[in-house]
Amino acid sequence: MENGTVTLFRYNPEADEKPYYETHEFPFEPGMSVLDVANYIYEKIDGSFSFNVCCRNSHCGLCGAKINGKPGLMCRETATRELKLEPLDNLAVVRDLVLERQDYDRCMEGLRLFLDRVSVPEHQPERVDPGDHERFKRVSRCVACYACVSVCPSFRKKRHEFLGPAGLVQLARHAFDPRDELDRDTVAFSSGIFNCILCGKCAEVCPHGISPKENIEVLRESLGERAPALRDNREDGKG
């Protein structure tokens, strides 16, 4: 078995002045996962190397990292012989690859991410338009790994004025739920949805094939007549 080489981002803010990189060899086998490499380092080389993991199979969304520069879930990506692992961008680092997830979780606290309605269904199961259901299902696949947040240029520049792609996908689930009666459009607007520049980088990195960008466009459209006027007003105000 030939060895591979992994370059790791290391940073323990309790001990280190600044991040640094270190390189280790690992027994490389074609088809092995990136998580195999991380586990090998943790188990055999250095027990202080820190990363999050739970389900090992794409569901929990915790093992996100920049793998050779590209965000992905370590459990899902195949290791290359030359490998580089870094934490996802745009979120603070707790240690090594572990992120301050709760910084972003907090952004979503005011979104009322539950079915909000006055009506009571007359009978069940309620009829749901298959197209609506499909749209609802697609955004519901999000596991909140925050890969999209990590590549979002608008979030990087305006994190206090823009909720970012992951939060808007969570919001979209309820906006797309045909039973929901809350005015989600207004929430989308005040979450800064027009700060999205529609670059589509988010869609390239989603491990579950969701395009936050497309869903943001749908949310924008549903603001309909209200949105352009509001947007123009704001631009006028700036100008």
Binding site: S33, G61, R101, P121
Partner: protein, 563 residues
């Protein structure tokens, strides 16, 4: 030290815990939920790809709650508690609808109104509602949303170390805030444990890494009785490779032929009629027999052959798995995939009554933490049904009890003594790494307390368990940080795992027969004369005390025609 006071403390952030918390709030109780990891990012529920079994008004012709009852009891080899199973089949359908009322949307037929239904091994009819391949996540998302709406305090990264007793009942719990390693003291009138199973006892498991028997150990240590701990289910077809995926569900029995390293379709020796569609326990045993006799593959598995399927079939029928095959360099139309049995589910747990209250008053147990529903073997799709029904019953029971119970007093020194072992572990130099102890335990259990069991093997296991128990106090992490120290967490979890390991092993020695998922090489037959009995376990001092009680056979008995 953090301090909390609550009527109901829910431990665990999966579907069972969330359902219990939700229901308790509906009955006027104050509720706090302590979750070991990040809510919706930990535990087994989010991984559940299956469906929820329940026969509602929407059932297919011929199906009924009685048939669901019978399927469950027979699937569980008559070890299921018939009173509890009856409650499950009666109440699950309403909860499937209730979950929709608060936010879930299950799969529908093209009319947008009729539930799409699935079947699964052991079910006589299609009767299980689902959403894509992530029914569990949908369920949990719905319930956590409802808890948000109800302003329930959910404490993430809070690991419970010990339950507190006062007199005959419960007075609270002590936990560790994993973000800071600060002590968290809960004064609580009732506690609901919803910590999931203990798949990480075994080398191969499809459970997430944080499912480590916490609930069984906490309940047993507090004085509650466990039951049916010898019944551990193994699914025959887990991945062998890559290692990080080892044990994860790799293939479905109806799409494959199993072959050994000589290319022989070996199931025709073990079950010539049903072949790969034989029961999960038989297929698992056959695979391990082939490996033991030298006919396994390079990664200690056997081969799943899908090459006989039409081109495109596998990609169409299981797109997510097909993608994984490609990533690991297996083309199912040309190559064989190596597979191995894997630990899937714990049928045993705390002995509970109709409110899912354990034998310790004020301590409730839900989902995989409770025994009784699944008997000696679980049917697919019955886990989510059990989880919602037990959560609902426990939440209501705990809230009602809390309304009539004053808070028992708790002295803060109880918290200090409970966190001592963790503090010592952090301070210890030159010890044993928790990950190494864990590996030894998982190999041991796989070898001797897994799919095949024998008196000799089990007794060997017990001796090694004793050694490993002594090693618990030698554990020390390389990382000394008090911030999200994963090694420390693993070290504490090893305590829970070893307690669970001892329970499973001692019960497996006692049960001198084979039944459901429990297979004894030295007692290969099912003994209906002597062993229609549960093995229950209590802790007395440092020892386990095992006893037996007859199974509840109030509705049907083995061999009787019914329904």
């Amino acid at each position: 030290m953090y301090n909390f006071q609550t009527d109901v403390l829910v431990v665990g952030g999966g579907g069972g815990g969330a359902m219990a918390a939700y229901e308790a709030t509906r009955h006027g109780a104050s509720v706090i939920m302590a979750v070991k990891g990040f809510p919706q990012h930990c535990g087994s529920t989010i991984m559940a790809p299956g469906a929820i079994a329940g026969v509602g008004d929407w059932h297919v012709p011929g199906d009924s709650k009685n048939v669901h009852f019978k399927d469950t009891i027979e699937g569980g080899a008559f070890m299921g508690d018939q009173n509890l199973v009856r409650i499950m089949v009666e109440e699950a359908p309403d909860l499937i609808l209730e979950l929709e009322r608060i936010g879930a949307l299950w799969q529908r037929e093209s009319d947008g109104e009729t539930f799409a239904l699935r079947t699964g091994g052991g079910h006589s009819y299609q009767r299980c509602t689902y959403l894509e391949d992530r029914t569990g996540r949908e369920m949990l998302r719905t319930l956590i949303g409802e808890l948000t709406k109800r302003n329930v305090r959910v404490l993430p990264n809070t690991m419970i170390l010990k339950l507190l007793r006062r007199g005959e009942g419960i007075s609270g719990a002590v936990g560790l805030n994993l973000e800071t390693c600060d002590t968290v003291l809960f004064r609580a009138k009732t506690v609901i444990l919803a910590c999931g199973g203990a798949g990480n006892l075994y080398l191969n498991t499809d459970n997430p890494t944080d499912v480590t028997g916490d609930g069984y150990a906490l309940a047993l240590e507090a004085g509650a009785e466990l039951m049916d701990m010898e019944f551990v289910q193994f699914f025959p077809l887990g991945f062998c490779f890559p290692l990080s995926l080892r044990g994860a569900l790799a293939a479905l029995p109806y799409y494959i032929h199993l072959r050994n390293n000589r290319g022989e379709r070996f199931m025709d020796k073990y079950d010539p009629e049903r072949l790969e569609l034989s029961t999960r326990d038989r297929v698992s045993r056959a695979i391990l027999a082939e490996i033991r006799e030298g006919r396994g593959g390079p990664h200690d598995g056997v081969f799943a052959d899908m090459t006989f399927q039409d081109p495109g079939f596998i990609a169409r029928m299981q797109p997510a798995l097909y993608e994984t095959y490609q990533k690991i360099g297996v083309d199912p139309e040309k190559d064989f995939l190596e597979v191995t049995p894997t630990c899937h589910f714990f049928m045993g747990g705390a002995k509970v009554n109709e409110n899912w209250e354990s034998t310790l008053p004020g301590l409730f147990m839900v989902g995989e933490n409770a025994a009784g529903i699944q008997g000696a073997n679980r049917l697919s799709q019955n886990a989510l049904a059990e989880l919602v029904v037990s959560g609902k019953r426990a939440g209501k029971g705990a809230a009602r009890m809390a309304a009539e119970t004053p808070q028992a007093s708790v002295h803060p020194s109880e918290a200090v003594s409970a966190t001592q072992p963790a503090e010592k572990m952090l301070a210890r130099e030159d010890g044993l790494r928790p990950v190494d102890l864990r590996r030894r335990l998982r190999n041991l259990m796989w070898e001797h307390v897994g799919v095949h069991r024998s008196k000799d093997g089990l007794e060997t296991a017990l001796r090694v368990i004793e050694e490993l128990e002594a090693d618990l106090d030698r554990q020390s992490p390389v990382l000394r940080s008090r911030r999200f120290n994963q090694e420390l967490v693993e070290g504490i979890e090893n305590n829970f795992l070893l307690t669970t390991a001892r329970c499973v092993t001692e019960a497996a020695i006692r049960r001198a027969e084979s039944r459901g998922a429990h297979y004894r090489i030295d007692y290969p037959e099912t003994d209906g004369e002597r062993w229609l009995r549960h093995i229950n376990i209590r802790k007395r001092g440092d020892k386990l005390e095992l006893g037996t009680v007859p199974v509840d056979l109030r509705e049907i008995r083995p061999g009787e025609a019914t329904v």
